[in-house]
Subunit: 181 residues, 2 copies
């Protein structure tokens, strides 16, 4: 489907509440679990979402509106927020995600983008030319890739416990598809 | 990790609220979207979860407690509920999922299973011997496999819209792993 702005906003509005409903009441055995020693826990994923929300999405959009293709935006530090994560409880991270997302979406609405703005071009440090519409679609899809990741991390804790039912559970056959999932 | 009963219950308690937070306010363009003509929409997934909740999990557990391995339980009709889905609005399905899940978990708690009960054996129509513990772990993992599926269905609607960012979005490289995902 086309990335209609209102549809993108509708999905972005659901992100924080979805992670909150899934993770807030779970014991640490779930929220600190990983798929392997080097992989992320659900708690770490939420920290990453908070980190991205603070500077990666709306700010890149504003950068495109201001600089067009004349100046590439800063690369994302995918490990950003790691230090703060060590001391911030998960409920506080979930609250922060909801609050920052709401603020950013309010600002986005205030900018009152027009359909033609979605075609405006910017310069990604690795990909080179991207459009503002691609950036907004990626913001929404980024929530989904991390929801996909968290559902997999949680399910994999029961990889053995489900016994022969494993063959019916597609998530247990998912290896993540990308080092950057 | 071991499938501890309290941990399983904690995850099962989050399932309906998670799907509700993700899907209730989304427009039909998202909730009726599919990955291909023959694949499920998020709305259909919720209908499947409701259908399973009515007869697949607690009832199979009770079957094991009553019959052990002497009598296999009925196969699950994975397409069950399709007719009712055509007329039930998604919010009503989400409400029903929450209500039935809460009732079943209350009954499960009332049975007051002991650790030894998790080793009790039953007969699956296809796999033959399964344990009650495997059934409970599968109940929780089943929510996760469908959350994994729904996050993928939603993300794939923006497969083209994200442009070159696709390479960073693992969910867009997920093909589902299983015909029974």
């Amino acid at each position: 489907m086309n990335a209609d702005l209102e549809q993108t906003l509708a999905l972005l509005e659901c992100g924080p509440a979805t992670f909150n409903a899934l993770l807030r009441t779970l014991p640490d055995a779930w929220t600190l679990a990983t798929e392997s020693d080097a992989s992320w826990s659900p708690r770490y994923v939420v920290g990453h979402l908070v980190y991205c929300e603070h500077g990666n999405w709306l700010e890149r959009m504003e950068w495109i509106l201001e600089h067009g293709e004349s100046k590439p935006f800063e690369p994302l530090n995918r490990e950003g927020g790691r230090e703060r994560l060590k001391t911030t409880p998960l409920p506080a991270l979930l609250d922060e995600f909801a609050e920052v997302r709401a603020n950013k979406l309010a600002k986005l609405r205030a900018i009152n983008l027009q359909p033609a703005d979605l075609e405006r071009k910017g310069k990604h440090p690795a990909f080179r030319t991207v459009t503002l519409g691609q950036l907004l679609a990626t913001w929404a899809a980024h929530d989904m890739t991390h929801l996909h990741q968290v559902s997999r991390i949680l399910a994999k804790q029961y990889d053995e416990a489900v016994g022969p039912w494993k063959q019916y559970l597609g998530v247990l056959h998912c290896d993540g598809h990308s080092v950057k999932d």
